[in-house]
């Protein structure tokens, strides 16, 4: 029989932590701090709106780009939050999570061999999506001492004549890093000089602490060279609804909608109705969840300091990214040992790119009580391995 699967797909590296995941799954009494989604239930008014739409028989496809009332709400929301204007009719598309938007954006803009700069540590799907779209991922290892922000010099050094796209993903998973306005402004000259497109994944934008999220698309000259990706999963605790969106200038969006149309048709209708209520009435929910995350973030950072584990101060998302290099183990070894010895699951930093080696990702999408219980175990583990050193 012939080999049916393409070389291109076979070349895609499977997720690095499959083995680790299997061990955790078989350990029912383990405390997991490994989850990348909110612990809150979707606020009831949002769920209710989904139920109401089902009861009313709204079970058909929507238009390809999404329900118009939802696109209008997105437009209003983005204008309010980020001072950005996008036309609901031609510049906004509702997608199946931010994930679909990432895939489609790359496939829309990459010619074979085009290079995409991806600062790492980063979410795991960017590199394979670029490869599948025929592009070439060029990763930049970001540094903890720069608070995992992308510096102009690092960007400049990664650019070649083939560079077409800069991917930005702030607030960042897994580091929790943000880029403030000045950090973004420092990149603008380089982006313009090399005529780059920016694909900006801002899915954690609402989870920014002690400052407001700034979208790079809102800075001078940037809107026309930006595709902005956002969604409902993190800000409204709606991961399972699979709903995100993309914003782009008309000429790019027109083409993106084609891919979406032929691959997806339209995003889940129930989710779209629910999302209208999220944007219309969900602001207080967002504020409440953000405050809870911020309290946990402070708690974890304080614990890291107490346990003398170096950790830069993350200002976004719901992760901390402490440095565990002092123990002389790889991050996967550290995570495996911690799981075996004290039954706490964290994610090895190496899952997010080679430069994540020496770090672990701890999620604080857990209640303070759960975090306290987990931290007591981590403390016991550190004591053990420090004694054995």
């Amino acid at each position: 029989m012939r080999e049916f699967v393409t070389e291109k797909v076979k070349q895609i590296k499977p997720s690095g932590i499959r083995k680790f995941f299997d061990i955790v799954s078989e350990m029912p009494d383990a405390i997991s701090l490994g989850v990348g989604e909110p612990d809150f239930d979707t606020p009831w008014h949002i769920r209710e709106e989904g139920i109401r739409s089902l009861k009313a028989g709204k079970t058909f496809y929507t238009s390809n780009a999404g329900l118009m009332p939802l696109r209008q709400e997105i437009s209003r929301y983005i204008e309010d939050r980020m001072q950005l204007t996008y036309d609901p009719a031609s510049e906004i598309m509702v997608t199946v999570g931010g994930s679909e938007a990432i895939d489609i954006a790359f496939r829309t803009v990459l010619e074979p061999g085009d290079e995409v700069i991806i600062p790492e540590p980063a979410f795991v799907s960017y590199v394979p999506c670029v490869q599948l779209a025929g592009g070439v991922p060029v990763t930049i290892p970001l540094k903890a001492e720069n608070a995992f922000r992308l510096k102009p010099r690092e960007l400049e050094a990664a650019i070649t004549p083939k560079t077409k796209v800069l991917l930005l993903s702030y607030p960042n998973n897994p580091t929790g890093a943000i880029m403030e306005k000045e950090d973004l402004e420092a990149l603008l000259g380089i982006i313009e000089k090399h005529d780059l497109l920016v694909i900006s994944d801002e899915i954690y934008s609402e989870l920014t602490y002690n400052s407001r999220h700034v979208s790079i698309a809102s800075l001078p000259g940037m809107r026309k060279r930006c595709v902005v990706i956002n969604g409902f999963s993190k800000s409204y605790a709606m991961t399972g609804w699979r709903l995100g969106y993309a914003l782009a200038p008309k000429e790019i969006m027109e083409q993106m909608v084609k891919l979406h149309q032929f691959a997806i048709m339209s995003s889940p209708t129930t989710s779209q109705y629910a999302a209208v209520s999220a944007l219309k009435n969900g602001n207080s929910d967002v504020m409440e969840m953000r405050l809870a995350y911020d309290q946990r973030r402070r708690f974890l950072l304080h614990e890291m300091e107490r346990l003398q584990i170096p950790c830069f101060e993350p200002r976004g998302a719901f992760y901390i990214f402490p440095d565990i290099s002092e123990f002389g183990m790889s991050s996967e070894e550290f995570a495996t040992e911690l799981l075996r010895e004290e039954k706490v699951a964290v994610v090895p930093g190496s899952a997010f790119g080679d430069c994540g080696e020496g770090f672990i990702r701890i999620s604080y999408a857990y209640s303070i009580e759960e975090l306290k219980a987990a931290l007591a175990r981590i403390e016991a583990f550190l004591k053990k391995i420090r004694q054995n050193k």
């Binding site: 680790f20 995941f21 997991s32 979410f123 946990r296 994610v347 303070i368």
Partner: protein, 164 residues
């Protein structure tokens, strides 16, 4: 900002009164002394009124019964409602007492050993108050939710253990 911190401290304690001032200080980004001072001020002002534990007595196989009683009253003089309230809230069986707007005046939440026990209390101690015109007694059957906590179903983490 000060008001903001005060609200945060109250909201944190309302959900979990076992957190220490040191822990609350960490969570809110202030120092322990500030939180400790704030809490004792809130206690003195009677804003923080206790640090109780929410117990699901039904699960403890406790046979006690709770009932809601609506009271209609005819208040006498200027301080009429308060005087009647005083007569009612002195009884240890009265767990909660509210003056209400609407069709009746007082809402009394009672806990007693049995239905009989409560009926007796209503007829002898509440209905006998001179200003009380009428009473209506409702016994609770199942408590699903109390003080924002779902008693019927314990929250389970439905998430996969690891997601990137």
């Amino acid at each position: 900002m000060e008001q903001d911190l005060r609200r945060q401290v109250l909201n944190i304690l309302e959900k979990n009164s076992r957190l220490s001032p040191a822990e609350i200080a960490v969570m809110t980004g202030t120092d322990e002394q500030t939180v400790a001072d704030m809490i004792s001020a809130l206690e003195k002002e009677g804003i923080i009124c206790g640090y109780h534990t929410l117990i699901n007595w039904d699960k403890e196989n406790d046979d006690s019964v709770t009932a809601l009683i609506e009271l209609k009253v005819t208040p006498q003089g200027g301080d009429g409602y308060n005087k009647i309230a005083e007569q009612i809230y002195q009884y240890p069986q009265v767990e909660t007492l509210y003056l209400m707007s609407g069709a009746y005046d007082f809402l009394v939440l009672l806990r007693g050993k049995s239905i009989k026990d409560i009926s007796l209390f209503v007829s002898e101690n509440l209905a006998s108050i001179e200003e009380v015109q009428s009473t209506a007694t409702y016994f609770t059957l199942t408590k699903y939710k109390e003080q924002g906590v779902n008693l019927a179903r314990k929250k389970q983490d439905g998430r996969m253990v690891i997601t990137l």
